[in-house]
């Protein structure tokens, strides 16, 4: 593939029944492009965690996935409350998820650590009261 491909999704903020659908769609698209299984797995994990975080913590946002010859880039952009202390949020086990969310199986505080672990690069920029932007890359 010589051209760059871009997939763009609006992630709905208050619909738990469709949460994760953008990630499921991306997985399907990457399969059709013939991307190898391990790369697809890494992108799926990182994107799902980021997508769910936007739903749970930020009231939704926009997800964009760019596929080039060298890497797959996932950009998640929201206008949620922002992350006060990114270092703390990155720690395994740290979570501010409320009980209602925990009862659905979320809130282990493992999402951001998973995103870090499964990508080659991850950058978070966040401003309290403005929003959060996360850029991740998985090299092919």
């Amino acid at each position: 593939m010589s051209e760059e491909l871009i997939f763009r999704f609006n992630v709905d903020g208050d619909d738990f029944t469709s949460a994760g659908q953008a990630s499921v769609q991306v997985k399907k698209n990457l399969r059709q492009l013939g991307i190898d299984a391990e790369t697809i797995r890494r992108v799926s994990v990182a994107m799902y965690e980021g997508e769910i975080n936007m739903v749970i913590h930020a009231g939704g946002g926009v997800a964009e996935v760019r596929v080039t010859d060298e890497y797959i880039e996932i950009v998640l952009d929201d206008h949620g409350p922002g992350i006060k202390n990114i270092e703390e949020a990155m720690k395994a086990g740290f979570s501010t998820a409320p009980d209602t969310i925990r009862s659905l199986g979320f809130g282990a505080g493992m999402g951001l650590p998973n995103m870090k672990r499964y990508t080659d690069e991850m950058h978070i920029t966040s401003t309290v009261g403005v929003g959060t932007k996360i850029v991740m890359r998985v090299n092919i």
Binding site: G20, Y48, G105, N114
Partner: protein, 109 residues
């Protein structure tokens, strides 16, 4: 061992089995979705008591061969039809997660 083969050997019932030929290659137990997301391997039978639509999404994305709901947990119809549409096998057993894993071990090794 295929998922369909599994349903004939261990004490469980298939709530939906859209992909009966999926190969069961291991097992993972967990209810916290981010742990499962990060640790379950493709082909695993995922033993859990967490049964909502997010369980189905995680199963799709990890590529587990089936979800096994332990302790007699079931799924409501809406989630079940989502699983069916997404090609996710869902089994239910009255066994505990531990007993289910022991039974699986006997079959997989």
């Amino acid at each position: 061992m295929t998922v369909e083969g599994l349903t004939k050997i261990i004490d469980c019932s298939a709530l939906t089995m859209p992909d009966p030929e999926a190969e069961v290659t291991g097992a993972y137990i967990g209810d916290l979705l981010s742990w499962v997301m990060g640790r379950a391997s493709e082909g695993d039978a995922w033993i859990t008591i967490m049964s909502n639509v997010n369980t189905v999404a995680v199963a799709t994305l990890t590529g587990v061969s089936c979800i096994i709901l332990a302790e007699g947990v079931t799924l409501d119809d809406e989630v079940l039809s989502t699983a069916k549409n997404k090609g996710v096998n869902v089994l239910s057993t009255v066994m505990s997660a531990y007993d289910c894993a022991v039974a699986l071990n006997g079959v997989l090794r």
